[in-house]
Amino acid sequence: MSLVQVTEADGGSAGPASVDAEGRVDRRRLRRRTIGVGGWVGAGVLTGVLVTALIGPLTGGDPLAQNFDAILEAPSAAHLFGTDELGRDVFVRVVFGGRTALAITVVSAVVASLLGLVLALAGALYGGWVDALTSRLADVQLAVPSIVLAIVVLSFVGNSFVPIVFVLVLGSWVLTFRVIRGHARAVVQQQYVEAARVAGAGRLGIARRHLVPSVLPLLAVAFTINASSALLLESSLGYLGLGVQPPDPDWGQMVATGQAQIFTAPWIALFPGLAVVATAVGLQLLGDGLAERFVGGPVTRRGLAR
């Protein structure tokens, strides 16, 4: 199954609840809405993860430093999260693993969101074969399970940064595309867009002045969901040994390594596992909060709900 299952957003709607019929953001309605407690919790968790990842290296720890005199040591003051089978400090590896995971996740989510946005706007503006082609591309992508595609590509291309980002983008751009396309198609049928067209505005002008501002809130929401999907897929690849390669730390890879020792040295898998769960839940909560504020409902992995 694809990690990102998307259905068409409600094409008959003029757009998110906080966007009026002319595509303008209704700031009064927006002010009435907040991202909610969940959203703030999500934002807090993500901030914590980001700050830890950013300042972690300042602690001077080396995620690759091996110490064969201190293998499989339980958490202690010297090693907050214990040590692994090579005597490496699990805390330091979780912190540095977060940098890798977040970098890959953010880059993948940005590229996937931009790709989805561009294809969706092109489909909405040009219609006809362009829309048909982009939609069929999305259908094809949905038909191929992301994880299977990733395994095949990475097995034979190698597992450096660019191929990993490539498979993550392939696995998650459809969500943005589907959500944005449905809304954008509705907007281009609005009278004010028609009026702009009659007044001589070109497609790019319409996209810049009307479509992009209108879809930005949706894009923000889709981005968080994309990021969550990308993080989970990246962790899955690491777990399968196809993500970031050892000895560089990676959360999924650390969970896989520690799995066989879950009964004797649970800290090896537990802490990176918790890090993945916290970050993914944080992204989901923030996404739900943003959706509540901008859209008036959730943009789930299944699309824009009405």
């Binding site: 196809l242 020792q261 009964f263 769960v277 989901q284 709900a305």
Partner: protein
């Protein structure tokens, strides 16, 4: 191809050692559900981690069905295609018989053949049993054996076990119902040993069935069901002529990851599993249910070298020697391998399984010497190399390789790891030199004492998975294979060993650790070649 891990028996060193979400309520509940599930997952992990000791079953119980764990997926059970001891090979050897068998100490012992003699260097006669029957009740005759060899000698036959045979075997003829004559084109001093992998299948069945997933042999068991992803079930061959095995039913289960193997043992779901990381054995040491095995395996682990990549620094023997000096085998062995083995003695053969050349010793750990050699070779500023790993294939390989990465970094060599699933990893070795990795963490080895082809074949330039350029080694091993006397064979083998050492045609690491966990309810003589034949597992005597 030569199997990456061929067998060897013996255990002298038993150290024993969509649809859119349409209703609002779910909007607010979903985060709560996610959080709850996440917390539940974490709690479950922690609770299970804090759970009881390994194998908490009350007493060792082994039922009517013997449960054996395999550590690699089954690739088919064709008796003419060979197979890894960790998967297909163990099943094939329980269903089929061959003329000879390999004992735990890697000596050759009778199988279907009860005796053999060489009348001249190119002629051998084998006396075979006349009471053997296939599992359908039909007798196994001398004609059946001849038919099997005829197939394998046909260059168009798809059974891959025939390729090495055709290099030295001209024909097999029936003298009488119990005597076969082997006519060779090259002398083969170790012919009986070479024949242990040639399993005899019933000819009529073979011509009308797919031997990759169907079987009819004369071994102690017959195949009931095969699922290559998950395992196989066997039951007794009621026509088997030998000693009746202890278990009427056998279930082989594929447990391809270390975590799967550990979990299955902790749940008491398996009676015998091999290939666990030495560090993971500790959790079963005090078990009431299981005994643990930690010993020396029969095959060596090396880093196989790609010497043929365009512009590779590994074409220079000084660089290869430097990498040998830069590898601290002892530290890896004492920590990750729990002291189970000793470093390889500068050669891929070692006692007690294979005769080793006493004049060659292990490359000591000497980072300064390594730096000096690298500088002489023009790499004073360092170099970058890649090593390919097959995820989960060899005991402790991931951690051991990461230790090597750290060791080589000290002499200025950046070693980058590429993990691949087994098929992709294998495929990259078959492919062109320039597309292959610089190094492969791999286990190779012979299956019987003095097995020149098995011991040294993978290190020849002409091996299908080799990326070596070793003309002198090739010539010496060819001479050893075709030697007419044992003395001549030993001379050429030792010269080949000395050549491989001085030219450093491999990064010599250590023998593979032989590890396993066995139910106390079983009686099993450990087989360091890892072949897990069901007929060799008995029930422990009751107190």
């Amino acid at each position: 191809m030569n199997r990456p891990d061929a067998p060897t028996h013996s255990d002298p060193q038993q150290k024993q050692t969509g649809k859119p979400v349409t209703h609002r309520p779910s909007v607010r509940r979903r985060p709560a559900v996610v959080v709850a599930l996440a917390i539940a997952a974490v709690l479950a992990t922690v609770l299970s981690a804090c759970g009881g000791a390994a194998g908490s079953a009350d007493t060792p119980k082994v039922g009517d069905e013997l449960r054996l764990g395999l550590s690699r997926q089954i690739t088919g059970i064709n008796p003419h295609k060979g197979g890894s001891p960790d998967s297909s090979g163990s099943i094939v050897g329980s269903i089929y018989e061959s003329l000879t068998r390999i004992a735990p100490d890697l000596s050759v012992e009778p199988g279907l053949a009860t005796a053999w003699t060489s009348t001249d260097p190119l002629t051998w006669r084998f006396t075979i049993r006349t009471d053997s029957k296939f599992s359908d009740g039909s007798p196994l005759t001398a004609d059946d054996v001849v038919w099997n060899f005829q197939q394998l000698l046909n260059p168009d036959y798809k059974g891959t076990s025939g390729a090495p045979l055709r290099k030295y075997l001209k024909s097999v003829t029936k003298i009488d119902d119990s005597t076969l004559q082997f006519n060779l084109s090259q002398p083969a001093l170790d012919l009986p040993g070479r024949l242990w992998t040639i399993f005899i299948v019933q000819p009529v069945f073979a011509q009308s069935h797919n031997l990759d997933n169907e079987a009819l042999g004369s071994g102690p068991y017959k195949l009931d069901k095969l699922d290559q992803e998950n395992g196989a079930t066997l039951s007794l061959n009621t026509f088997y002529a030998g000693t009746k095995p202890a278990f009427a039913h056998v279930k082989y289960t594929v447990l391809a990851s270390e975590a799967q193997r550990v979990a299955a043992l902790r749940a008491g779901e398996q009676d015998l599993i091999l290939n666990l990381d030495p560090l993971d054995l500790a959790q079963f040491k005090d078990s009431d249910t299981y005994d643990t095995i930690l010993g020396v395996g029969t095959q060596p682990l090396t880093l196989a070298i790609n010497e043929r990549k365009t512009g590779t620094p590994l074409a220079d023997p000084r660089v290869r020697q430097a990498l040998n000096y830069a590898t601290d085998k002892t530290t890896i062995i004492n920590s990750l391998l729990q002291g189970a083995v000793q470093p390889l003695p500068g050669q891929v053969v070692y006692e007690p399984y294979q005769p080793q050349d006493p004049s060659v010793r292990a490359y000591p750990y000497d980072p300064e010497k390594a730096k000096q050699l690298l500088a002489e070779a023009g790499h004073a500023t360092g170099l970058t190399l890649t090593v390919a790993l097959s995820s989960g294939t060899y005991v402790s390989q991931d951690a051991a390789t990461q230790a090597i990465v750290a060791q080589w970094a000290k002499v200025g060599v950046t070693l980058k790891i590429t993990q691949q699933p087994f098929p992709a990893w294998l495929q990259s070795q078959y492919g062109p030199d320039d597309a292959a990795a610089d190094l492969y963490y791999i286990m190779w080895g012979g299956s019987f004492r003095g097995d020149v082809t098995g011991n040294f074949g993978p290190f020849r330039s002409d091996h299908i998975q080799s990326h070596l350029r070793a003309p002198e080694f090739d010539e010496l091993t060819t001479k050893a294979q075709n030697a007419a006397t044992e003395a001549e064979k030993t001379t050429y083998v030792n010269q080949a060993i000395e050549n491989a050492y001085s030219q450093a045609h491999a990064i010599f690491l250590y023998p593979s650790p032989f590890t396993g966990v066995v139910s106390k309810g079983l009686e099993w003589t450990p087989k360091p070649n890892r072949y897990l034949y069901a007929q060799q597992v008995g029930r422990a005597a009751q107190p």
